[in-house]
Symmetry: C2
Subunit: 313 residues, 2 copies
């Protein structure tokens, strides 16, 4: 599907592309664009070219594929298979940190084996979305010598494919998961102890997403804490974590800088994009978002967190 000339800052992402039905206290959106790789790719595309790896059914809207392409997302790695696209239906509680999955159909994702176009294999930046560790490993096998590999996972694999996940984690320098996953993976309630245990499994860096409480980043002995942008209303939290990861990896790929200082900025850019994502259902807010909007909110993050400036004590 399509093609794109190779770019040195390019970022490969593999993960789910889905059609979601979402219910919140505020409303319902039926059959809308979803899936971790979709959220990730669109978020990253604000910063860098993206090469997507995944599978959709023949019912997947052509207009969404076109939108992806228009955003610089290479779809050469996206298979279109006969059948229905993956579908997920979820309902959020009044406390939006809690949601129930009402239904899930893997559909064309069932039995899918990601195969990368040759042009993807020299990508310097790779993100392995939350598919099975075996498939994540398979994708990684096809990348020649990446500069930075990030990955996500989920409770289903932490509990059900522990050995495969641990094998993968040895090959993943940057793990981006949420606090519940960090607790399950480490067996520790305290995030500092959890982080230490997870870093002992292989990753050199760990980002723990805490929803409305922001992100903790661990690398070596250093910790960085970024708040979430204070929003009066979270309309739909779906994809917040995936767009966070997309913003982080996209910004790192764009700058080519993976120093500790750069990673901190990347975390804030990721937080910025995530804060926009939750302002509307699905990826709707990202359709109109501009790079100027992002820069403006980045500066608000500076103001939100600064305390040791000017006016000496």
């Amino acid at each position: 599907m399509g093609g794109r000339t190779e770019q040195s800052g390019a970022l490969v992402v593999v993960g789910s592309v889905a059609i979601d039905t979402i219910e919140t206290q505020g409303g319902r959106a039926a059959e809308v664009l979803g899936g971790a790789a979709a959220y990730f790719a669109v978020a990253a595309s604000f910063f860098t070219p993206v090469r997507m790896v995944g599978v959709v059914g023949d019912d997947f809207p052509q207009r969404d594929l076109e939108w992806f392409r228009s955003r610089g997302i290479d779809l050469a790695g996206v298979e279109v298979r006969p059948g229905r696209t993956m579908r997920w239906t979820g309902r959020y509680h009044e406390d939006m940190n809690v949601r129930d999955t009402l239904s899930f159909e893997a559909n064309v994702f069932d039995g899918y084996l990601p195969t990368l176009p040759a042009a993807y294999c020299d990508a310097p930046f790779v993100f392995l979305g939350n598919i099975s560790p075996a498939l994540q490993g398979r994708v990684l096998d096809q990348i020649r010598s990446p500069r930075l590999v990030g990955a996500d996972t989920m409770n289903f694999y932490i509990e059900g494919a522990r050995a495969e996940l641990e094998a993968l984690l040895c090959r993943v320098p940057l793990l981006i998961i949420n606090d519940e996953e960090a607790r399950l993976l480490s067996g520790e309630r305290n995030m500092i102890r959890a982080a230490r245990k997870i870093l002992a499994l292989g990753p050199t860096s760990l980002m723990i997403k805490r929803g409305e409480y922001g992100v903790l980043f661990f690398s070596g002995d250093t910790v960085f804490s970024a708040p979430a942008y204070p929003l009066e209303e979270v309309f739909d939290p779906t994809g917040a974590g995936d767009t966070f990861a997309g913003g982080v990896m996209g910004w790192l790929a764009a700058t080519g800088d993976v120093s500790p200082a750069a990673i901190r900025k990347a975390i804030v850019y990721g937080s910025v994009v995530a804060s926009f994502t939750v302002e509307a259902f699905s990826l709707e807010r990202l359709r109109t978002l501009t790079r100027d909007d992002i820069e403006r909110r980045y500066r608000e993050f500076v103001s939100l967190t600064s305390f040791d400036v000017a006016s000496p004590v």
Copy 2:
């Protein structure tokens, strides 16, 4: 009890002084020093002279009174009444954000009417700990023209003395409460909406304490978010919020600067002192804490939160 010469940076605090029995998953401490005013005063005493207002029974340990005095805490406003000191027994769950009160005895606090020594009445900084709004108002009536009045409250008064509390809030520029209290006071789950409603009740500034998630500060249209210090182990969370408030007010009183920039630094100093408090039972950690320890951890907060420094994009 004792006396102390007037100081312009002095800070008056009124609140409970108690004898606590605390159970955590890690252990039990019986009949130890506690009470919001005790935690507050000791925390503030790292920065500024403190004038305490409260009541203890004749069973209150003389050594604790002497410790207070040795820290520059004026006890002229502390009555010693015949009978037992207030007592509280609490048990923390494995999730230390949750605790049960196993027993509470007001004892000598029952019927107590705070009366300030004449020397307290010109204090520029005042903190009204979480006693009844009527008693908080009574203390405030006795202060001539304070530069800054801070207050705390609790669910018991939000639900049981709403009218008195609202009357008090008109007179309190700085309210320092936790997230649960903010939700109850505002009827809003979202902290931004909660803050807006609470600021409409009178305070010009609001600090919302979120335990391990840090503090949100609202003033006008600005928001400041400070993380909690990442601790591997929280030994006893009792008094964390009170020492936070003590650090904030103590630092503001010490510098005499109540500008928005100063308040942000004060919040971090409060967070620093609170992070030490929870490292041991009761006020034990504060007995050995030094100002150097505080400055060191303050600098760690800078490193914990900085992202928009040097290395331009």
